[in-house]
Symmetry: C2
Subunit: 190 residues, 2 copies
């Protein structure tokens, strides 16, 4: 039996996306966001929603370019900190000893230590309420060599983790279950 | 060292969201989608991107109301099938022996067997390219009794799984790592 828990932001899983921008003075900044993900295949696009109060919102409105770095589970504490402090008050890269590296295709920094970085240019901005949704066209994806198998990113090697909104917790990615677009074929009518 | 793999739809994790709609004749339909997630806290909103070719797109443009059901990992094959077949050709609920149940606040069905269902009304439609992004305001969330602890959804009990775009695979949610908004405090300057 299901029970109503009201109108709440519940979703499992949500991603842990680290948004990299330069501020107006060129200082690298990074914040963590969980409200977003892939939103179009052609052109490849990613969405990320930010509160207007964040420094990244300000940087993004100015620059219109950003990166998404995906942290591995070795960096849970660093990623969490990127959501606790504001780039207005401190240099979060210095605080966490993470390294900002300039992206190739956009004027934004990614986190060198994280295994995946996605370079994006803003092509849409949607005011939704407390959050503003930015649509970024993905211009390039870069992955650590040792996280690729035959040129394809390998989930286990990347070791991404996820955020659970209900109990505000981070969880690891678990075991492989089944292949997509394949395992459901058993229900196909003959 | 990072290597470019081009402009691709890479994100870890992406959710497995089952979108429930009624078609114009009132037949319940469900499809699986991974391009979406929470996109605003106030009002609580969820986004889901669909290709125009899908039957759900057609139903959604007609009805402007939908549900998102989150399957547990016991239903990987059923969920996968919901992305393989089209509601234009078959009744996917019958094929999978899943049960459509009418939502309380919207004119759309959710999947009775799945532990979480989210009732949504479309408040925005964004044409992005191959995909159209629907923004749904969350009107209510319903969770199976035995997946709640003190009224809060419990990730382990829900047992959600995730989709990995790179290698088209489903993975379980793994072990608890750390508490969010807490574990990063060690980097705070004194």
């Amino acid at each position: 039996m299901k029970r109503s828990i009201g109108a709440r932001t519940v979703m499992y899983p949500t991603p842990v996306m680290v948004v990299g921008t330069y501020d107006v003075d060129g200082k690298p900044n990074a914040m963590v966001a969980a409200w977003g993900g892939i939103c179009c295949s052609v052109p490849p696009c990613i969405s990320v929603s930010l509160r207007k109060a964040t420094y990244t919102y300000e940087c993004l409105m100015e620059r219109k370019e950003f990166t998404i770095s995906i942290p591995s589970k070795n960096y849970v504490e660093e990623a969490d900190y990127l959501g606790l402090a504001s780039g207005r008050d401190t240099d979060k890269f210095k605080d966490t000893h993470l390294t900002p590296e300039r992206a190739e295709h956009v004027n934004a920094p990614f986190v060198k230590e994280f295994p995946v970085s996605i370079e994006c240019r803003v092509i849409g901005i949607h005011e939704l309420g407390l959050h503003t949704q930015f649509i970024g066209e993905i211009l390039d994806v870069k992955v650590e060599d040792d996280c690729l198998i035959d040129g394809t990113p390998d989930t286990d090697k990347i070791g991404p983790f996820l955020y659970s909104p209900g109990n505000s917790s981070y969880f690891a990615t678990g075991e492989f279950l089944m292949k997509a677009f394949t395992c459901g074929k058993k229900f196909m009518r003959k």
